[in-house]
Symmetry: C3
Subunit: 156 residues, 3 copies
Amino acid sequence: MATSPEARLKELGITLPPPGQPMAKYKMAVRVGNLLYVSGHGPSKLTDTTPMTGCCGKDLTVEQGKECARAVGINILATLRHQLGSLDKVKRLVKTLGMVNSTPEFTAHPAVINGYSELMAEVFGEEAGVGARSAVGMAALPGNLPVEIEAIFEVE
Amino acid sequence: MATSPEARLKELGITLPPPGQPMAKYKMAVRVGNLLYVSGHGPSKLTDTTPMTGCCGKDLTVEQGKECARAVGINILATLRHQLGSLDKVKRLVKTLGMVNSTPEFTAHPAVINGYSELMAEVFGEEAGVGARSAVGMAALPGNLPVEIEAIFEVE
Amino acid sequence: MATSPEARLKELGITLPPPGQPMAKYKMAVRVGNLLYVSGHGPSKLTDTTPMTGCCGKDLTVEQGKECARAVGINILATLRHQLGSLDKVKRLVKTLGMVNSTPEFTAHPAVINGYSELMAEVFGEEAGVGARSAVGMAALPGNLPVEIEAIFEVE
């Protein structure tokens, strides 16, 4: 396995999209000391069979939700590279709040958010890429997003 | 434009209420190092046409929700001044979690939470007053509050 | 009152269970600097009359929810001891996000989360054991947990 996050990303065949822009009065990320606070991100560029909006348990299956969460991870990586210049400046993932647009009956939030968490582990490694986490069900998300994820990273 | 947050608050014609008191077993804010963690705050002192309780998408419109979020911001400013002695001790807004009491169909959470975020930008400036943020929809909030906001500030 | 958290725990007659294991791709806690970020925890080992799953306002009363929140606190203490070697290494509770599985009509989230917060105050004291907090209502939680709590602690 390649030794740097940027090299691993290349190995995985992932090309990052342009960094997202704020949809409202906030920044995509703010650094204080060695911590980078990353705003809630949604997914984009999904496959043809997974909608980019909707509610898990009603409009999306667990697998589709997981695909969305991976797409959120891609967008967060784009923000990280844009903020830091390179993913190699990430020391570790510290903490994630994974928010799933879900019906009251839906219970597979951890499986959904794993789409993001497995990507982070692939890119940053099993130690630095696995952080503290909560994965929970929201009544609603902006623009009917299926998943929104915010995170804190330790950076160089 | 005035050069300090306290002067800008005066320019805006805002008089802060007395600081809120905890409704349960918590503190309004806790400082660790140069970060001040501010507890979830609700609104108070709204205008006659906006109720202080209710659900966005059912009981409140987007504009009413936004007015509530601005009122939450006023209460957070009161807590900041009480904790720090002066708003001028705030270095920057780092991170906000804006929680909107909303129906599953409601999707305008960013517009609602902008009521708070625009106030922070007015008081602390476009750089220091704009932070990382998530704005999301909750199934329910304490006492049927329409909006609850928690935040982290970097302080002197 | 005993002078250390470990001694107070003994006084309270609480025996901690083995530390929980991650149910998905995350760690139970991650330390960065002097802050320990604790992942969302659920309850276990409840009494016979309180179910370990369900929704507050439908399946569980406020008192049952509070009992669940205390049980979450017990599990968080087990994680803290496992991570730090001893609860005496905790300097203070900084911040808690208390998430209650609740109907849209439920409004007593602060009373529910007090089950956790009162335990923290008993173990770490009225100053160090009382932190900033939000207590809010979620549409759904993993595995239909009634309460999920994440927290940040300042540690030695």
